[in-house]
């Protein structure tokens, strides 16, 4: 279903490796299952030929990998960035998290990635093989002889259904056609939650967050979570690798994390994508983005390098805390 082919990406990677522009390629490689795609640093043509993957499951946002991969790396790394990935890329540059000179960014178009959970829900567990057939996926499971036909658009990731941008905001080179920023409906669900009564809202989040197993996948995948030392890894914090002991702790972890990335979150959706418990974590971040937009004017983190996020900026026109308070009364 992707408009750009694996061969086009391979050709680009091969030529950049061959002419010495880059010394490594950060790309997707085969995982254990067909839907399981793993990031990998490729340094040879042979490795690329054998293991490089490009399909509807390549959701991984490589931006965050650049922080560790460029660290003390000699030479340049080729990275493939989908439009949504480029926002994280810029945000990390704003925060001086990696050296731009060490990266050769190739923007690639994206037609939306598949949500494995939705796919499993459609076909049942035990997927043994997935084939692409135009806009459909042919999925074989160990329980059925005949492959099931699943339209891709029925199993897209939430972030792709509500895609905010087909436009790349950063790249050295662009493959395929440049898209547009999309006026998506991504805040609709936040508005629905805002419209709930406080009790309903509490019950909603109680239901979602009580499933959290504190695996830290959301944090590990989040491009805004690049602290040198995370408080949740600090043995002295009392919260290191700690499973929630009660419903209060369940909520606090995610709410604190959302505060932590507020103003810096580009809404890349990695948190929800990687959550093994399918918690819609992106909604917390989007609530912040929606509030920031309403309070301080439209702001998209990562739209440009070096922008001053409203939360770390001060202007005399900023609204007063009392105005926020008044609005809260209106919501309730």
């Amino acid at each position: 279903m992707q408009t750009i082919t694996k061969q086009q990406l391979l050709d680009k990677a091969d030529s950049l490796l061959a002419n010495g522009t880059v010394t490594a390629v950060l790309g997707w490689s085969k995982g254990e299952f067909g839907y399981d795609v793993t990031p990998k640093m490729f340094t040879t043509k042979e490795d690329l030929e054998q293991n490089f993957v490009w399909n509807d499951f390549c959701g991984v946002n490589f931006s965050k990998y650049l922080v560790s991969k460029t660290d003390r790396f000699e030479g340049k790394i080729l990275v493939f960035l989908k439009p949504c990935d480029t926002y994280s890329f810029n945000q990390l540059l704003t925060e001086h998290r990696f050296d731009r000179e060490k990266v050769y960014a190739v923007g690639i178009p994206c037609e939306g990635m598949v949500d494995v959970s939705k796919l499993k829900a459609a076909t049942g567990d035990g997927i043994s093989e997935i084939k692409e057939d135009g806009d459909n996926l042919l999925v074989t499971t160990i329980y059925e002889d005949e492959p099931a036909t699943v339209p891709c658009r029925d199993v897209l990731l939430e972030r792709c259904i509500n895609c905010k941008s087909k436009k790349h905001v950063a790249y050295d080179e662009l493959l395929g056609d440049e898209g547009e920023i999309i006026d998506s409906a991504r805040f609709d669900e936040v508005a629905q939650i805002e419209a709930m009564t406080p009790d309903e809202r509490f019950a909603f989040w109680q239901n979602e967050l009580s499933r959290c197993i504190r695996c830290n996948a959301c944090r590990d995948a989040c491009p805004a979570c690049t602290c040198e030392k995370c408080v949740f890894d600090n043995p002295n914090s009392g919260v290191e690798n700690k499973a929630p002991a009660n419903s209060f702790e369940e909520k606090m972890f995610h709410i604190i994390r959302a505060y932590h990335v507020a103003g810096r979150c580009t809404d890349c959706g990695e948190c929800s994508r990687v959550c093994p418990q399918n918690i819609p974590l992106h909604l917390l971040n989007r609530k912040f983005i929606k509030d920031i937009n309403e309070f301080y004017g439209e702001y998209q983190a990562g739209a440009e390098v070096g922008s001053r996020a409203p939360l770390v900026d001060y202007t005399t026109d900023d609204l007063e805390p009392g105005e926020v308070f008044d609005r809260r009364d209106m919501d309730a």
Partner: protein, 664 residues
């Protein structure tokens, strides 16, 4: 573990009246780290302080918690006590059980309960306190006075008199301010110009004083002792150092129909103008909105008649950078707009005027050369109605006016009424008032003279409506004492408009990070004990920018502000505040969030080499705080996503310990 001593103050009955101090000191005895707990009538007294010193000696205390008034009141006192007893002064914590407890509670049980909780929080914090040592910073021995009215003039003269250089920044083309517009001054009736203009000349002639007229402050950086200020000198299109103020250009200028601000628009001036004869500096200014030459390049008469060659149509705004040790705010006041007070027909009739306009009408240098004439037809008014409290002392819910008393109106209205009756005895003068407020030396005598000797008709009650009818103003009012409605056919109605801080004050306060009240008056560091200092160190307040004031009060406050400035500038070095931010380099990831929120520019970045666990080295970008510039506001500590920024004396773990102690 700390050895903490707890000292609970009664503050006479201020605290002991609503807090069981004995119970508080008993309850706090068993808190972690506490080895001594006592209470005393006045902890801040010599005896109270001695008690603390003895306890330190006897019990080897390492930390002190004083449960008393606000730290703004006596934290410094108890820090000195601690230092005298040999403990680091920053090992003292104050639990505010007066302002935040005894004064707001009526019931002893709840007051005591809260006092104990506040005490526990302070103990939890002091257990985590570490000794701190303040740094030092040099003092730039030059002062900046913002505003060139009588307040700014007096402050500048007093500072210069002590030998320190002073710069005055004034937005108008001349210094002098409101006082220059007044006619006579109460209660002595000496002429304002006669006492002000010599002071203006003193300023001009003082070698220590520089005047930046027609200028404004555009940027302020730095901190007490080391302010870095950018002054924008607006282009006046006349070379100040060459212009002799002869006035030939003003006479020849063909564009003579510009409303004259100095006379509040009651007459006209030319496009090139000198505000008034005694202006300082006496230099012409071209109004770019009125000058034909500047607007469309046609004219140039002034340049031709100027024998000195001072006219420069190409002049540009100029920016001047200067360093100052202290800044005095003297931005003054303005009468409020009468637009919302339609009942007095200010916008319908030219003969309804404000008191400041009346001042110009009776001033010998004013539009009528001092003859009291009606603005509409130039006739002498036979019946004048003065209305007091227009926009002052308004209901908080009312959408117009101010809640406060403007303070000066009672006296100047008495003056206006008296002078009118003195000069024009056949004029009938009514004054409508809510109360007549005359506290001040010789003030009440002055008012009584107006009533008793000059026969001014004071009527208690407010004017409800003024309706222009023919050449009369129909005034409807109530006489509250006689309990009847009055209908007066007046020729002139004078409104004692409330005064408000100048509009430039709010943005200035933002630049200075100085606090203001809801009416945009600057807040003083302490309403009684530090009335001329702003809570922002190095910023001082002079005159009506702090609250409504008459001339004697303004001058005395101006002198007080000057003496505070002199006290500061006389020091060679300032002891800094050790409660500044610092970054934990191991946690900092160099993201620049702190730098972006720092209002003082105290944060920079460095590439530092770090040893990694695998024995390799790595160069990382980390934040570095300049402790001399940091003001300890803590903005960076909350902006830091990594928790790498922390504030000495207010560390995150200390604050959390306090919260935990309160919530336990």
């Amino acid at each position: 573990m700390q050895r903490v001593g707890v000292f609970v103050c009664w503050c006479g009955s201020n605290i002991a009246g609503t807090v069981d101090v004995q119970a508080v000191s008993e309850a706090l005895k068993s808190e972690p780290g506490v080895v001594f707990s006592a209470n005393y009538q006045y902890m801040c007294s010599q005896a109270g302080q001695d008690m603390i010193k003895e306890a330190v000696k006897e019990h080897n205390l390492t930390g002190i918690v004083v449960c008393s008034c606000s730290p703004r009141m006596h934290e410094a006192t108890f820090r000195k006590t601690a230092a005298a007893a040999g403990i680091n002064p920053y090992m003292v914590e104050i639990a505010n059980i007066r302002e935040q407890c005894s004064w707001v509670h009526k019931d002893i049980a709840t007051g005591t309960e809260k006092a104990i909780i506040l005490g526990k929080a302070a103990i939890a914090k002091v257990n985590l306190n570490t000794p701190l040592t303040p740094g030092e910073s040099p003092v730039t021995k030059r002062a900046l006075v913002i505003g060139g009215g009588i307040a700014g003039i007096q402050t500048a003269l007093d500072i210069a008199d002590a030998g320190f250089p002073v710069d005055i920044v004034e937005t108008k083309p001349t210094i002098g301010g409101k006082m220059a517009q007044l006619d006579k001054t109460f209660p002595t009736l000496d002429c304002a110009a006669c006492i002000l203009t010599p002071k203006m000349v003193d300023v001009a002639q003082n070698e220590k004083i520089r005047i930046f007229s027609y200028s404004e402050v555009s940027e302020i950086k730095g901190f007490v002792g080391n302010f870095d200020v950018t002054i924008k000198k607006n282009a006046r299109y006349v070379k100040e150092d060459i212009c002799t103020g002869c006035g030939a250009c003003v006479e020849k200028c063909p564009m003579k129909k510009v409303p004259n601000e100095f006379n509040l628009g009651m007459d006209n001036r030319s496009a090139i103008y000198i505000p008034f004869a005694q202006a300082v500096p006496k230099v012409a200014t071209i109004d770019p909105n009125a000058c034909n030459m500047l607007k469309n390049g046609k004219c140039g008469l002034c340049a031709r008649v100027c024998t000195a060659g001072a006219i420069d149509y190409t002049q540009k705004d100029e920016y001047i950078n200067e360093k100052y040790g202290a800044i005095v705010v003297a931005t003054g006041f303005n009468p409020i707009s009468m637009d919302k007070f339609d009942e007095f027909a200010y916008n319908q009739s030219k003969d309804v005027i404000t008191s400041l306009e009346f001042e110009r009408l009776t001033n010998a240098a004013g539009p009528t050369a001092g003859h009291l004439e009606r603005p509409s037809d130039g006739k002498s008014p036979k019946t004048i109605v003065f209305v007091q409290c227009v926009g002052s002392r308004c209901d908080a819910c009312a959408e117009k006016g101010k809640e406060y008393c403007s303070k000066i109106c009672c006296m100047y209205t008495a003056k206006h009424a008296m002078l009118t009756r003195d000069k024009y005895p056949d004029t009938e003068v009514y004054v409508f008032y809510i109360d007549v407020r005359t506290p001040g030396k010789n003030f009440d005598e002055f008012y009584r003279r107006a009533v008793e000797e000059y026969g001014v008709k004071y009527v208690k009650g407010m004017v409800g409506k003024v309706t222009p009818e023919g050449d009369k103003l129909k005034v409807q009012a109530s006489d509250l004492i006689a309990n009847k409605q009055l209908h007066i056919d007046a020729d002139l109605v004078v409104l004692a408009a409330a005064i408000e801080p100048d509009k430039s004050a709010r943005p200035l306060a933002t630049m200075l990070t100085a606090s203001m009240d809801t009416n945009d008056f600057f807040t003083e560091a302490h309403p009684k004990l530090r009335p001329v200092e702003s809570p922002t160190a190095g910023v001082f307040l002079s005159g009506a920018c702090q609250g409504p004031k008459d001339i004697p009060e303004t001058v005395s406050q101006a002198g007080a502000a000057a003496s505070k400035v002199i006290g500061l500038l006389a020091k060679d070095k300032l002891t800094g505040n050790p409660c500044v931010a610092h970054s934990n380099e191991l946690m900092c990831n160099g993201c620049s969030s702190c730098e972006k929120v720092c209002a003082y520019g105290a944060i920079t970045y460095e590439n530092k080499e770090f040893r990694m666990p695998d024995r390799t080295t790595k160069i990382r970008r980390v934040a570095v705080v300049n402790p001399a510039v940091c003001q300890g506001c803590g903005a960076c500590t909350v902006a830091c996503p990594s928790g790498a920024m922390d504030l000495n004396g207010f560390a995150s773990n200390q604050i959390m310990a306090e919260v935990d102690a309160i919530c336990k």
